[in-house]
Amino acid sequence: MKLWTILALSAAFLLILLMGMGEVALSPADYAEALRAPGSLAGEIVWQIRLPRNLCALLVGAMLGVAGAVAQGYFRNPLAEPGLMGVSGGAGLGAAVAIVLGLGLTPGAVEGFALLFAGGVSLIILAFVSRFPDRQALILLGVGLSSLTGALMALVFNLSPSPVTTAEILGWMMGSVENRSWTDAALAAGGLLLATLMLWRVGPGLRVLTLGEDTARSQGVDLRQLAALSVVAISVLAGLAVAVSGVIGFVGLAAPHLVRGLGVRDPYRLIAPSGLAGGVMVLLADGAVRLLPTSTDIRLGVLTSLIGAPLFALLAWKSAKEWVQG
C-alpha cells in the first residue's frame, strides 16, 4: 500500500474515532439522531462541537506539516520549521493584542488580528525576498523578526491590564482546537487550498534545489519566484495555523521527518504526505489531551511541544554527529 494511502486512512480512522470522544457520552442512537436531526442536542454536539474541532485538528496539523516540508525543502535544512521566519510569532502577537484590547470573546477577532499581524510580518519578508532571494539572509531576517515579535509579546504581557487577561493570552498561546467553529475550519481549509495551488508551481523547483542554487538556475528554476512562492505559502500556512489554533509546536518540524523516515526523500514528493502526517499527529495529540487523566486540561500545544522538544534535540544530536563525521 502506498504511503499516502496509509496516512490518509489513518487520518480518516482517527477522525471517526475522535467523533466518539467528548465530555458527553453519546450512544449509537444519539448518532443516528444527530444524522437525522442536526438541530437536536446530539446533532449540536456532533455537528457544531466535535466535527469542527476534529476537522480543525486535522487541517491545522496538515498546514503545519506542509509548511514544515516546504520550509525544509526551501532552506535545504532538516531543522527548518514553519516558525523560522517569524510569521507564527507575528500571528501570536496579533492574537495577544486582540485579547488585551478586550476582543477575546468577539467572534473572529482573535483570528482576524492574528492574520493581520502574520500578514504584516509576511509583507516584510516578501519585500526582503524580492530584493535578496537568499535563504541564509532570510534565516537571519527570520531570527530578527522572531526576536522582535517575542519582545513585543513580552511588552504586551508587561502592559496587560489584569492577571485574567494575561492568563487568557497564555491559555491561547498554549494552543488548542477546543470550541473551534466551522469558520475556523473553513479558514484552515481555504489556506491549505491556496498554499496547495502555490506549491503546485514551487514543488519541482524544490526538487532541483536539492543540488544547489546554481544547478537549479541552470535547469531553468526561477529562484526569485521559488523564494517568493515558498515564503508566501509558508506564511499563509503558519499564520493561519496560529490564527486557528494558537501555537502548536514541533508538528511542522516532525511531520516531514516522519515521512522521510518512511522512505520519501524527494522534497516535492514529501509535501503531501507531510501534510497528512501532520494531520494524524495533531489528531492523535488532541485525542491524547482528551484521554489524559489530569484535573486540569493539558493544552494541545503543550503536549505536542512536550513530545516534540526531545525529538528536536535528538535530530540536532544526529545532525551534529553527521557534520562532525562528514
Partner: protein
C-alpha cells in the same frame, strides 16, 4: 556554438573576468586552465548566465544569452558547479533524472547517462551511501542527462582517482564527438594537454592564451602564468607528446 564578446564580470570590488572574447565550436572539448583565482569559475558562470556581465555579451547560436528565457537557456546550456552539494538523500537514479526532467523519457535517459559514467549498477542506491568519487560521477551523469548542446563543467575531476580522471575526460571527449560543445575547467595541465582539443588559459581575469595545447603551453606562458618550467616531450615510443613540468622555484 557559444561565444563571448568582450565580456567583463565584476564581483564586488574585483573585476574577475576582463575583456574576454572567445568562440567555442561544437564537437570540441575545451580545457579552461589557470591558477587559483584566475577567473575560471566566474567565466564559466558567465557562460551559463549565472552571473551578471558588467560589459560585453554572451551569444549562443547567434542569439544573445540575455534574450533567452530561463527554460530556453536550460535546454541549451548544462552546468556542473564546483560545489558538489546534495541536500537530501535521494536515490542515484532520482538525482540523474533531475537532469533529464524536460524529456518524457527521463528514466531511460538517466539510466544511459549512469552507464556512461560506470554507475549503472548503483542506480537504486541512496546517494549519501556513495564515496566522494562516485558522487562526483553521479553529478556528472546528471549533467550528461540534460543533453544540452553546451556542457560547462567546473572542475569535474575533483575527488576522482587518477584512473577515473582519465575515464571522465574520455566521457567528455565522447560527448564532444557527439556534437556537444564541452568546456571544463581543469587543474591538471598534463591531462588537459593530453585530452583537450583546445585550451583557454585564464590569468588575472584575462585570456592569456587560446588554442591547441602544443601552441598554448609555451615555456614563457607556463613560467609567467603557472610558475612552471618545462614543455612537451615525446613518449618513449615516440608516438605521442606529453607535458612535463616542475615548479620554477625548485630550480633556484
Amino acid at each position: 556554438m557559444i561565444e563571448t564578446q568582450n565580456i567583463h564580470v565584476r564581483l564586488g570590488q574585483t573585476e574577475a573576468v576582463r575583456d574576454v572574447t572567445l568562440r567555442f565550436e561544437p564537437g570540441r572539448l575545451y580545457g579552461l586552465v589557470g591558477p587559483n583565482g584566475s577567473g575560471k569559475t566566474t567565466f564559466l558562470r558567465a557562460l551559463a548566465g549565472l552571473v551578471a556581465l558588467s560589459a560585453g555579451a554572451v551569444r549562443i547560436d547567434d542569439r544573445a544569452l540575455s534574450s533567452l528565457s530561463l527554460s530556453e537557456r536550460s535546454a541549451r546550456i548544462g552546468y556542473l558547479p564546483q560545489a558538489r552539494s546534495i541536500s537530501w538523500d535521494l536515490t542515484v537514479q532520482e538525482i540523474v533524472q533531475l537532469g533529464a526532467q524536460r524529456f518524457r523519457d527521463a528514466e531511460p535517459r538517466a539510466a544511459a547517462a549512469l552507464r556512461e559514467v560506470g554507475l549503472g549498477d548503483v542506480a537504486h542506491r541512496r546517494v549519501f551511501s556513495l564515496s566522494g568519487g562516485q558522487t562526483a560521477r553521479v553529478l556528472l551523469a546528471r549533467l550528461l542527462a540534460t543533453a544540452c548542446p553546451v556542457l560547462l563543467l567546473d572542475e569535474p575531476l575533483t575527488a576522482l582517482d587518477p584512473a577515473w580522471q582519465r575515464q571522465v575526460l574520455g566521457v567528455l571527449k565522447a560527448a564532444a564527438a557527439r556534437g556537444h560543445v564541452v568546456i571544463a575547467s581543469l587543474h591538471d595541465l598534463g591531462l588537459a594537454a593530453a585530452f583537450c582539443d583546445d585550451l583557454c588559459v585564464m590569468h588575472d581575469g584575462y585570456r592569456a592564451g587560446f588554442g591547441r595545447p602544443e601552441t598554448v603551453f609555451t615555456p614563457s606562458l607556463l613560467a609567467e602564468v603557472f610558475h612552471l618550467t618545462g614543455g612537451f616531450r615525446q613518449t618513449d615510443d615516440g608516438q605521442d607528446l606529453y607535458l612535463a613540468t616542475r615548479p620554477v622555484s625548485s630550480l633556484t
